[in-house]
Amino acid sequence: MNRLMLIAASILAVPTFSVQGQAADKASTASAGKHVYDHWCAPCHAAGGAHHPGTGALAFKYKGENIPAALEQRTDLTPDVIKTFVRNGVSVMPMFRKTEISDAQLDALAAYLSHQPVKSPATTRKAKRPPA
């Protein structure tokens, strides 16, 4: 397919990441959670602190402790902790609204980063403010 045809095909396309909320329900939890992570979290929290400010900040915070700075490498995160930070923000990381990450997408993200199966939104919806 030449470039002109590719561009013609793109007209009226929506971004590949849709925020409609249903996607996470339909896709498998793991891939939906990874999808949310890649779009919303990775720019700050992927491996490599020099280019990812969240990773850089956590590397400084956990210096001397045996805790990885990159979120995908963590094994100690619970779904509640992830939801708390997403819905409250911390330091220069803002909170995220439901038009950005829906409750269903947040469940999928929390399951992905905590390596746990997805939980019902009703059990984890109330997020508390994180420590500074």
Binding site: S10, A13, H39, G56, A57, R87, P94, R97
Partner: protein, 544 residues
């Protein structure tokens, strides 16, 4: 249920029920925990009585829904505050200028409606972020670049409407000037298209800005005269090469001729990228770090030095006072030739200038180069700028955000020196410093082709006493700089009244004209009350 000011609980309830019918119940947020997601994470009034809290949020998915929702708001007199992606952090985020407004959250309107590779434009909805567009263009094999601001999660529409900027050629990096055509929902629900969009059947909406008659696009930026639902943008085709190179000058008094040379080289199109003025002595930048000899000397001294002491060190050690980073986009032969011309011009105007040979990249970049480069200079969105303010050895506790002070000054060396003198005296009085660069002397930001911005970011600590003092400092800076003719190009809503008041020629004739426009196009005053100091009639009267 929170109730907007000036609205009865019964009318609020009725309006919310109608909003639910329009956008669906799941997309009207009234629970406290949902509505509070629209607080400004970087608020200088966090948890204080003055914080601009939202009453509810309505999230349409289409222009039809926006029109219907605006009509309902107009009928009930509900104050609404449209946001695109709500990521204007440091300038207010998604929180309104008028507390108790209902946010009209346009993030779900995230469609890339048109990409024209050969004519080099896109047409997008407000919810499309720079990340979204970049990903879409790369996945579809486009060779168009996106001119991105530092935070890649921002909206093309929202950033442009608040006069945001990027890093490519001047035509593109001024994001409002790079737009071509907009669609607007007016306060009575009328749908308006500007420029060639006003002509049914015209295929040149994104080619020609003006159509015929007055060009009104400007009144929908930094204002409250309508809800923008589509905008076209011109995009830069990927050139063959990009060259970045530096010139260094060794005397304090060299700044003025260096800036004049820079102006000449940019205004003739020889240097066609975004240049950077840096001081390797006083601060450094992303392109030219602070001279290592200065860093070592300061570490050895164990305390900061005065400007006079730094000058003496520079003179004794041949440390450059100033550097100019020039950037070029185009064919490889041409960018090299243009840099050679620039070197001659600097050498002629500023004897003793030295140069490096710079770095040249050919497009497309390799994956390894992606990680090496200053991403916005290559149209690559990222969030790297948020490392400033995050926890680090220099800032162990981290900040809770920042608020910007961004006055426009003339493009002269004298203005840089004079503005720094005035601003540093005020910031010292309040014990504040540009928290992002952590230097006392600020070199200008060069987003605009014909002016400088002296950009200062002040830390938000969520410590009421600290933050109040910062706000006092900010308001003093606005007032004092206005006496010198230096006015903000953009600001947080907490100081919109202060900033607008500084543009006071002829008894505030400009503000009074804005108010007459406001009364004409939004007589019930429902849209973004107070934004950039423009208040609707009923609230002006209340303010006295």
């Amino acid at each position: 249920m929170r109730v907007s000011p000036g609205v009865s609980p019964a009318d609020m309830q009725a309006a919310l029920a109608e909003f639910q019918k329009i956008v669906g119940a799941e997309w009207v947020f009234t629970d406290e925990e949902d509505v509070d997601l629209y607080r400004d994470s970087y608020s200088i009034f966090w948890d204080q009585p003055e914080e601009r809290i939202v009453a509810a949020a309505v999230c349409p998915d289409s222009v039809d829904q926006v029109q219907a929702a605006v009509k309902v708001a107009n009928r009930y007199g509900i104050p609404i505050y449209p946001v695109s992606t709500g990521k204007n952090l440091g300038y207010g985020g998604s929180a309104p200028a008028y507390a108790g407004s209902v946010v009209l959250d346009l993030k779900r309107m995230n469609r890339i409606l048109r990409v024209d590779e050969d004519r080099g434009f896109v047409l997008v909805e407000p919810g499309v972020s720079y990340f979204d567009l970049y990903q879409h263009l790369r996945e579809t094999g486009s060779r168009l670049m996106v001119d991105v601001p530092d935070p890649g999660w921002g909206s093309l529409v929202g950033n442009s409407l608040d006069h945001g900027a990027g890093y490519l050629q001047p035509t593109y990096r001024n994001h409002f000037e790079s737009h071509c055509g907009m669609e607007v929902v007016l306060a009575d629900g009328t749908l308006l298209r500007t420029g060639m969009g006003a002509m049914p059947g015209a295929d040149s909406w994104q080619d020609f800005k003006f159509g015929v008659g007055p060009w009104i696009d400007g009144i929908f930026s930094q204002s409250n005269f309508g809800v923008v639902t589509k905008m076209g943008f011109w995009l830069m085709p990927e050139p063959e090469a990009h060259l970045e190179a530096n010139a260094f000058a060794y005397r304090f008094e060299d700044l003025s001729p260096m800036v004049n040379a820079l102006n000449y080289l940019e205004n003739t199109g020889v240097a066609n990228g975004m240049s950077f003025v840096t001081s390797p002595l006083y601060g450094g930048s992303s392109f030219v770090p602070r001279d290592q000899r200065v860093v070592d000397h300061l570490a050895g001294a164990g305390h900061d030095l005065s400007q006079e002491e730094l000058n003496a060190f520079a003179d004794a050690n041949k440390v450059p006072y100033w550097s100019m980073t020039l950037k070029f986009y185009g064919p490889e032969d041409a960018v090299r030739a243009n840099w050679n011309f620039c070197k001659k011009e600097f050498a002629k105007r500023v004897p003793g200038t030295t140069f490096d040979e710079g770095k040249l990249w050919r497009f497309p970049l390799t994956p390894e180069q992606h990680d090496e480069v200053h991403k916005p200079s290559f149209g690559i969105p990222s969030l790297e700028m948020f490392s400033r303010g995050a926890r680090s050895p220099n800032n162990p506790e981290g900040d809770w955000g920042h608020i910007w002070f961004a006055p426009i000054i003339p493009r002269t060396g004298e203005a840089i020196i004079e503005a720094n003198k005035v601003i540093s005296e005020i910031t010292a009085r309040f014990d504040r410093i540009d928290s992002l660069r952590r230097v006392k002397f600020s070199t200008p930001t060069t987003y605009w082709a014909r002016s400088f911005i002296l950009l200062f970011g002040f830390s938000i600590k969520r410590d009421p006493e600290y933050d109040r003092k910062t706000l006092e400092c900010l308001r003093t800076l606005i007032a004092e700089c206005a006496k010198h003719g230096w006015g903000e190009y953009r600001a947080s809503p907490v100081v919109h009244d202060n900033v607008a008041a500084a543009y006071s020629f002829n008894n505030n004739a400009l503000t009074r004209f804005h108010e007459r426009l406001k009364d004409a196009v939004d007589p019930n005053g429902i849209i973004s009350a107070g934004r950039y100091g423009i208040w609707p009639k009923h609230l002006r009267e209340k303010k006295g």
